[in-house]
Symmetry: C2
Subunit: 297 residues, 2 copies
């Protein structure tokens, strides 16, 4: 069966596609052809590699979100400025595509003060809100660059980006800490480290090298060090975002493991947290954007 439309999540490091019938995914595929690995002329080829088998004689709509809409992407989809709905305008049509597809890219959001940008998360937010009319609160989208987003009356009011995931990858994989951070996990060590930095954020810089020294002097195991490093960095993020989450209705949209870690740290602070599946939110958001396309076509 040929899909009614095709959903595409195209980030910096990955490309994921779904064959869609209404809200339902009939099939899916993915590759590592993220924006960073595809040259200007390579986008359509990278996409067709995955969706070729789903195409027929009638042109099918392809709706994409993520870094694919950046200046170095397939087509630049200029940011919408907050405050605004998460997807305030119809997706941008990619010109000159293969005749079997009509491709569209969802634009990201920008904030002037303080300067900030997002591409991809706006679609997840639109998907999350699609089934929750008049939801007011704060959405946290953890990942390489974690977003904290204030939502009210179906609009994104403000947001901030945190490099917590990228910092964790760099520190655990490339710094001197790589010799002391291992596999595994320790819930208690994470909770203690997060609470420590959350209550004394000025101590973050003092904590990191301690992971190396505790290994050298006391043979601290790598699982504990990994959980502590994550705890220190997430604790620092929660210290910075306290005005976002304190006393607010709170939702986390992300991969299950990482969402659970954030939820645990927040629950420890007495916050009530709802979690939502990021893929489901992405597909619901792309569906919403597809509807916007057809309304304006």
């Amino acid at each position: 069966m040929k899909p009614e439309w095709i959903a595409v999540d195209w980030g910096t490091s990955h490309l994921r596609v779904w064959a869609m019938q209404g809200d339902a995914a009939l099939d899916q595929a993915q590759s590592d052809k993220g924006m960073a690995r595809v040259g200007r002329d390579g986008f359509q080829t990278a996409l067709l590699e995955l969706i070729e088998g789903w195409l027929g004689n009638t042109p099918v709509d392809v709706i994409a979100c993520g870094m694919v809409g950046a200046r170095q992407g397939w087509v630049e989809a200029p940011y919408s400025a907050v405050p605004c709905p998460p997807t305030p305008v119809a997706p941008f049509r990619v010109p000159g595509t293969d005749s079997r597809i009509r491709a569209f890219v969802v634009p990201g959001l920008k904030q002037t003060t303080p300067p900030d940008v997002m591409r991809g998360e706006e679609t997840q937010i639109a998907g999350f809100l699609a089934h929750r009319s008049n939801w007011d609160g704060v959405i946290c989208l953890p990942g390489t660059h974690t977003k904290w987003v204030q939502v009210s009356a179906n609009e994104v009011i403000s947001f901030r980006t945190f490099m917590t995931g990228e910092m964790f990858d760099l520190l655990s994989g490339q710094s001197v800490l790589q010799h002391s951070v291992g596999d595994g996990w320790d819930d208690a060590a994470f909770a203690e480290a997060a609470a420590d930095v959350l209550s004394k954020p000025e101590q973050l810089a003092a904590r990191l090298f301690g992971l190396r020294a505790a290994d050298l002097l006391q043979g601290q195991d790598g699982a504990t060090a990994k959980a502590q490093l994550s705890g220190f960095l997430i604790g620092a993020e929660l210290a910075a975002t306290r005005p976002y989450w304190l006393g607010q209705q709170l939702a986390i949209i992300g991969a299950k493991g990482l969402s659970d870690i954030y939820a645990k740290a927040l629950q420890h602070q007495g916050a009530f947290v709802e979690t939502a599946n990021s893929t489901e939110c992405t597909l619901a958001g792309l569906r919403h954007a597809h509807n916007q396309t057809r309304q304006t076509a």
Copy 2:
């Protein structure tokens, strides 16, 4: 003229040697054969490559400090525990060397609570104190891993290590910020960024991605971004070390450019800062350690 002794500063990434007559350096040489690039059996060869021309028929003392004394180094020189003088014991003799040299390694310092270690800085501290009897105060040694060291009555009382230099290198060279951080410098941007995070350390995590967004949205130049990144990270370090530097006699031992940056940030906070040349301190400290060798030989 053959040297009386040879001074060696052997860190993770570099090897520097001086031909010494008393306190005076007659000649010097260096290579990139740091500890990280030399296998267990490669230390003597790497050293002889640089000092061969200085050797004669009489064995000459070689005094080395730094990571060369680590477990993966030339000979393990176990840490001395603080509180103690910066070089409380004689350097460790390297067994089985070429007959033209008698090689010694200065041991590092360790602290049990909170866990911390240093290798190399203890020698600079000993050199700094050699000409300042009964100097009480705090020494900052900025670098890849910046050390803050509390000194009293010729002893190191406590110290803390900060990964500020390594974080700057990783964030400016390997993270998403690499696209926005450039060459050049902006004194005012540095001072403002450092003061900002020093007064609101919980905002560090919120500031970093702003460097990328300010470039994307406002075309902020790379020199400003570089100075701001440095300011954010050093501001966070100064927030963590406030009890160390507030109202204390303060000295900075380091490379000139970096020392000046730290001094400027501290002077901005009303601190009085003395700076000392790190090479001079290293040589004076190695000279002191050489005297310890001869006393115990």
